[in-house]
């Protein structure tokens, strides 16, 4: 059985690079929130990766070779940017 955290396939590098930027680069994340389609196209992602990212579909992204942790933290940072009031509740 494949481990939860598997070796990142080289074909998935553009997708992992993009997820890395979404989680760690405020400018890329802001641009993505403003115009996701253009930002994904400019990152050189293929149609399947773009479709999976659109819904942040974890299983589909993993099938594309995305690192699960990058999916997790990119999703969390996007949520924090979209809904900043949902944090620091106590």
């Amino acid at each position: 059985m494949e481990p939860h955290y598997f070796f990142p396939p080289a074909r998935a590098y553009p997708l992992n690079r993009f997820l890395f930027a979404l989680k760690s680069d405020d400018a890329v994340r802001a641009r993505y929130l403003g115009d996701p389609e253009a930002t994904m196209r400019e990152a050189g992602l293929d149609g399947e990766a773009i479709a999976a990212l659109r819904d942040l579909d974890r299983d589909r992204l993993v099938a594309c070779g995305a690192h699960p942790y990058l999916i997790f933290m990119a999703g969390l940072r996007l949520r924090m940017s979209r809904e900043p009031t949902s944090f620091e509740r106590f």
Partner: protein
């Protein structure tokens, strides 16, 4: 100088940013455990805090994936949400660890230019004594396979202890990570708390060296890839009997705060 303090702390970012998904009372109990450790670190009067943590693909991406690394700059900064962290780095000790580690057969990577990962900043946010001490960030690869084996992590911890013992500084050694959690996977909401409890029971009996024979597969299955940072620390403290300050299983994470006599 022998170590003056040893502990393992969690770094779950939810402990810092406190989203509504979390159990308030549980988070506050973990904060209280951090505060206990903060007081104990202060009482141990360290000159420097060596913090062993795994990078969350923040400082190291796929351009380079070191198994073991040391930050040897003069200071290190990072962010998480609106939090901004900067810590001075104890450059002489960091450099000595790299030079002597390599001399003793550990081919360590080093960096003077990394963003600080929250695996370092969250525990320091809660447990850094006042006034703050300089740190040495020690990296163990936990998320990008192939990761270093538990046996190698344990051996590195043993060598690290030998290096630190021969230094003049009083050192607090902290491991950051764990316990069971599976971020980004379909098991995120079902950590292996039973595995954690069995591990903690072994550590309380002073059987830390048994972690050296775990396999990478076992750690991955148990949601404990980050245990490599603890295993490194266990190499440094040997079979000392652990004291579990708290074990707080949340819906996604086994939060453990543990100390060892040194």
């Amino acid at each position: 100088m022998p170590l003056v303090y040893a502990a393992a702390l969690p770094h779950t970012p939810q402990l810092l940013v406190r989203p509504e998904t979390e159990d308030r009372d549980l988070v506050l109990r973990v904060h209280a455990a951090y505060a206990t450790v903060k007081g104990e670190i202060a009482a141990a009067r360290p000159d420097v805090i060596c913090l062993i943590a795994g990078d969350h693909i923040e400082g190291f991406f796929l351009n380079a994936v070191p198994a073991l690394a040391v930050f040897v700059g003069s200071e290190i900064s990072g962010t998480f949400d609106h939090y901004r962290f900067t810590f001075p780095v104890h450059e002489p000790l960091g450099r000595a660890i790299v030079e002597q580690g390599i001399d003793r057969g550990f081919d360590l990577a080093y960096s003077q230019d990394l963003p600080l990962d929250y695996a370092f900043s969250v525990p320091l946010h809660f447990a850094m004594p006042d006034p703050p001490r300089p740190i040495v960030p020690l990296y163990v690869n936990v998320y990008l396979p192939p990761q270093p084996t538990p046996r190698r992590c344990y051996a590195w911890g043993q060598t690290l202890r030998a290096i630190l013992d021969a230094r003049p500084e009083r050192v607090a050694l902290i491991a950051s990570g764990g316990l069971s959690h599976y971020p980004g996977t379909d098991r995120y909401a079902s950590p292996d708390f039973e595995w954690d409890r069995q591990l903690l029971a072994r550590l309380e009996k002073g059987r830390g060296s048994e972690t050296a024979v775990l396999t990478g597969d076992e750690l991955d299955k148990a949601g404990n890839v980050e245990l490599r940072t603890w295993i490194t620390l266990l190499g440094a403290v040997g079979d000392a009997k652990a004291r579990v300050v708290c074990y707080e299983p949340s819906w996604h994470h086994g939060n453990a705060v543990v100390t060892w006599p040194v």
